[in-house]
């Protein structure tokens, strides 16, 4: 392997891997925050569904048993 790779190839690979790792870490954090946002949106959706608190008047001519 050392016959095909130039000197210091490990350091060069490490530097580029650090860059890729930073990208992945940042994207993971963004994905986590997106999940939280999704949860907040579902809470919002529940709030919106539960908002009409005034009961609708029963239609005339119908009676409940």
């Amino acid at each position: 392997m050392n016959e095909t790779l130039p000197d210091n190839a490990g350091y060069v690979a490490a530097a580029y891997l650090v860059f890729v790792a930073l990208l992945l870490i940042y994207l993971s954090i963004t994905a986590y925050r997106l999940r939280n946002l999704e949860r907040e949106l579902s809470e919002l959706s529940e709030l919106a569904d539960g908002e009409p608190k005034v009961p609708e008047p029963a239609a005339e001519g119908t009676s409940s048993p």
Binding site: D7, N8, A14, A15, V18, L22, Y26, L41, L47, A48
Partner: protein
């Protein structure tokens, strides 16, 4: 709407990054002096340049915030500094790897370029704790803008001071008398700077979209849930301005 054109921008960024690193790997020749380890500059130097530009951009946005008191500029400044710290971390780590490969040491305290970058980086590391220490959102934004403006002005001054220093061992890539790189290296190097700038712009836009959407969701939550709904989750270093659902 900060998410507009985020998709095409991401695509262009990916193409630019792959292209630039491809040029660095296959087109740019091996450096006669440093050998293969010189390839690190195509990621390290663009990271460092974009970091410093991000700090200056944050300062410009902070200045706009102080002039207009528009909280959107505070958010833009905060996001730029936040992203610059991420890029700065990358610049420091890749720089240390390059130093080890070229000089045989991870860090050289006598080298002005390294130490000055570290000082700027550490200075900006205090930005988040400063924000966090101030509870009132308006005061927090104002103080943070003053900090961002002062520190942002320090960046070019620091850069010039280091350039004027006589003794240095750190190679100069960008100089007025030519970069010291071959034309092929220059193509890869400036391609990498453009690609890194695009990456910064994409992440900044993504972060702005994320924060803006969160503000909108919380504003709507408060509107629907009344005062019972807690907004912002207590003290935070992030800007906490509340917008209407129309984004104004």
């Amino acid at each position: 709407m900060y998410g507009t054109r985020l998709g095409p921008l991401s695509l262009v960024t990916v193409v630019a990054l792959v292209g630039a690193f491809g040029l660095a790997a296959f087109y740019a020749p091996m450096d006669a002096d440093q050998g293969f380890s010189q390839k690190i500059i195509y990621v390290h130097v663009p990271l460092a340049i974009v970091t410093l530009c991000g700090f200056v951009f944050g300062a410009i946005m902070a200045m706009k915030h102080l002039r207009t008191r528009d909280p959107r500029y505070d958010l833009k400044s905060y996001t730029a500094i936040h992203m610059s710290l991420v890029f700065g971390t990358g610049a420091l780590i890749t720089g240390m790897i390059w130093a080890k490969a070229s000089w045989g040491v991870w860090w050289e305290w006598r080298e002005a370029t390294l130490v000055s970058f570290l000082i700027v980086f550490l200075l900006y590391c205090t930005y988040q704790p400063l924000r966090f220490s101030i509870e009132d959102p308006e005061r927090q934004a104002r103080y943070a803008s003053v900090f961002a403006l002062t520190a942002g002005a320090f960046v070019p001054v620091n850069f010039i001071a280091v350039r004027l220093a006589d003794a240095y061992i750190h190679p100069r890539v960008l100089t007025t008398s030519g970069s010291g790189l071959t034309p092929e290296m220059n193509v890869a190097f400036f391609g990498a700077i453009i690609a890194m700038g695009l990456l910064f712009a994409t992440f900044w836009k993504l972060e702005m979209t994320n924060k803006h959407t969160r503000f909108q969701v919380r504003a709507l939550k408060r509107k629907l849930g009344g005062d019972d709904v807690t907004i912002g989750g207590g003290r935070s270093a992030a800007p906490r301005y509340i917008e209407g659902p129309d984004g104004r």
